[in-house]
């Protein structure tokens, strides 16, 4: 099953996604694990603090994977039936498009047409392989396209354009798409499965 969760900053989307993951995990009739994929690179104290906070905030036992680039490799690092939460697409995309980290040297180091095709292909592979392993994928993202338009800043517009392409792709593939507003879920696609 594929689930897409998005909303504004501090809207409670990560918490909603985590609760959803735990619920699905408990309902599984096959052994499964809860897997948290952090796409953020721990580049500074603030980010380390955020990730620590997220770890502490999670009451259940989670298996954590830090993967800033190669999301397509996640199904290889996880087991059949796992419930995999990917937090989040906005950071992953900026890693993919702009990072010059040596770890990412096998991917793309500048914004161009090749990496635009690359990001969708990678998500396509991830979704396909996760389905083969009967996993649940929960994507978390942010509605950054609903903020003020920075008409003059073409780099920001390029990023938002690309992010929307990804969002629309994932929403199309998803069985469920949910917008989180002030901690409450607005269902856009699929039925509530409780």
């Amino acid at each position: 099953m594929i689930i897409f969760v998005s909303g504004g900053a501090r809207s409670g989307k990560s918490r909603f996604a985590e609760e959803k993951a735990m619920m699905i995990h408990h309902q599984r009739d096959i052994p499964s694990r809860l897997v948290y994929v952090a796409t953020a690179k721990i580049t500074d104290d603030e980010m380390a603090e955020r990730i620590r906070f997220h770890k502490e905030d999670r009451t259940e036992s989670w298996h954590t994977i830090e993967e800033p680039f190669d999301l397509a490799s996640i199904p290889l690092k996880t087991k059949i039936g796992d419930v995999v939460l990917i937090d989040c697409l906005t950071i992953w995309l900026s890693n993919m498009l702009y990072s010059s980290d040596t770890h990412g040297s096998s991917f793309f180091t500048e914004f161009n047409e090749v990496n635009q095709i690359g990001v969708i292909n990678m998500l396509q592979t991830l979704i396909m392989k996760a389905k083969e392993k009967h996993q649940t994928l929960i994507f978390v993202s942010n509605d950054v396209n609903e903020g003020e338009p920075m008409v003059m800043d073409s780099m920001v517009l390029d990023y938002i354009y690309e992010l929307e392409r990804i969002h629309q792709y994932v929403v199309k593939q998803a069985d469920s798409a949910v917008q989180v507003i002030a901690g409450m879920a607005l269902e856009w696609k699929g039925e509530e499965f409780s």
Binding site: D143, N145, E146, G147, P149, W188
Partner: protein, 145 residues
Amino acid sequence: MQLIIGGAYSGKRKLVRNQYNNKVDLSWLSSYESSTLGRWREVWQQDHHLVIEGWETWLCEDVRSITSLSDLRQKYNKMFKELINEETIRNKQVILIMLEMGKGIVPVEGEDRRMRDLAGWIQQDAASLSTDVFYVWHGLSRRMK
């Protein structure tokens, strides 16, 4: 009058095209093609629906002028009423595509704040005058009115 509202690149144009999918021809007035808002009458071809998009560009130009925000709001309101009037005369629809832009942090620059305030008010006015309002989110749409 119909209002389609949503974030940048969320699929607003696609919704309009799918909705009218070859059934009725559409005339497009777009600031992205350097059209001015005042040209709506001449752009609107006979037996077409009229789509107006790119409001943020026109609003951006407007807030740079010395006109007060309430006068600008009145100007747009007057125009919406003219559009609705013309809809009845032509028996065709006007579709407004507007950009949701109120959800980021409050802009630091005064001009950007004015623009965001004006956009919010105009969207409220357009929504209240429209018979149908749709919100578009990552390629999906939801009727609000």
